[in-house]
Symmetry: C2
Subunit: 275 residues, 2 copies
Amino acid sequence: MTACMLVDGVAAAQVSVLDRGLAYGDGLFESIRLVGTVAPLWSRHMQRLAEGCVRLRIPAPDPAQLWHEALQVSRGMPASVLRITVTRGPGERGYALPASPQPTRVVAAFAPPPVAAEAYAQGVRLRVCNIQLAEQPLLAGIKHLNRLEQVLARAEWNDPAIAEGVLLDSHGRVISATMANLFALVDDEWLTPSLDRCGVAGVARAEVLAACPQARIGELTLVALRGASEVFLSSSVRGILPVRSLDERSYAPGTMTRQLQQHWRDLGFSMEQGG
Amino acid sequence: MTACMLVDGVAAAQVSVLDRGLAYGDGLFESIRLVGTVAPLWSRHMQRLAEGCVRLRIPAPDPAQLWHEALQVSRGMPASVLRITVTRGPGERGYALPASPQPTRVVAAFAPPPVAAEAYAQGVRLRVCNIQLAEQPLLAGIKHLNRLEQVLARAEWNDPAIAEGVLLDSHGRVISATMANLFALVDDEWLTPSLDRCGVAGVARAEVLAACPQARIGELTLVALRGASEVFLSSSVRGILPVRSLDERSYAPGTMTRQLQQHWRDLGFSMEQGG
């Protein structure tokens, strides 16, 4: 718990019990990788946060103010992960929107999670989760605070050798990992699942799609994923992670995965993160 | 904001920014009507909270301790609504469950929401919401903190003449109102929707089902609801509310609704709440 935190711009470690973020998960968050005082994907994070605010009808925070606060909380940290949380703010009991919402803004910096160099070099092991994501188009894509499905999914396994779980929707379509998006080379075509009905549209996914115009958003079945010739995960916090196995199926990191790891280094992420 | 509050047994108005209740909506709550120092449905609330804790794998709080704290926060209030919130407690970044969870317990008392006497006598007006509830059997029934769907549903209308919105699932089946359960008399049979795939199983609904063994849990289509001869809402906070209209369709409060309002009074709820 060595985070440095600001709540509405003031050094604080607490929020009101009446905050709707706590009461209903009524808000949004971003997890942002910083390298010193640079956040290579900052504008994509701000774009997704703004879209989430529109979707949830929460007044959007000022990105310049958030950046100022990001620099404050991460001061002196060579690398950090910023968590920005924006909620609809305090409210009385009941679901109705407050007439004059006063959003709460939390900016906190954490030490980056340790990722073994081997994970970037040889890849990570995945399993398929039992939980199936519910389909709610009105909440799909944005990074809101209603994350019980991800909590339950991550609670399905303890084996530290398994880095991530693959999440399917109720029709058995592959959606993502629990905290990363997923790309697969299927029949010589790069595919990442559509996130119109569930899942979170990651900023790293957006960066991959921009860097690889040949990658396509579409439907990815579990059978197709198992048959893929190359698979990687994209995460704003962890970067590009090759997938070495999914349950009994093995994959080898290929050209595209290595090119994207290089792209991540070119963006300014550290060697360690980029692979 | 005139609530009296205890956080983990201590008078406080704030929780940690790192609490997983705020970070992920990783917790549960109960809204409990108190009449002086009596909570007629207390044991049903404790039963649902315990079931939610099992489902989410959160160590359950001690009901005796909660009751002690409930009396503390509601002291001097002739009537109140208690909100008990139980979260998985503080956590580091990431969805994985903490190895040694320290759940957070918030007990707060609020003034009851004003309900016009006319609402109990003549009934309330409903509309059908546009949002369709997503189906997640692993979260259905329990009163968890992931409530963005209800927030979006309640944000669909501003007309103060409309008291509630009817929520459907993605198959068009009626599930509930935004903050109450729903019963309808269809072809001489009392029906309340099954909540196995979405919705919250209200404690007032459980009390109604216990008091009316002839009521059946089943599928309720919107067509059947529109064609019903009698409809009422059940709420642990508001009691039994007749429904006088759903969009253009009108209903008249009937015998069962009046009997249940009397049952609510017999349980010890005030005349005002019971009707």
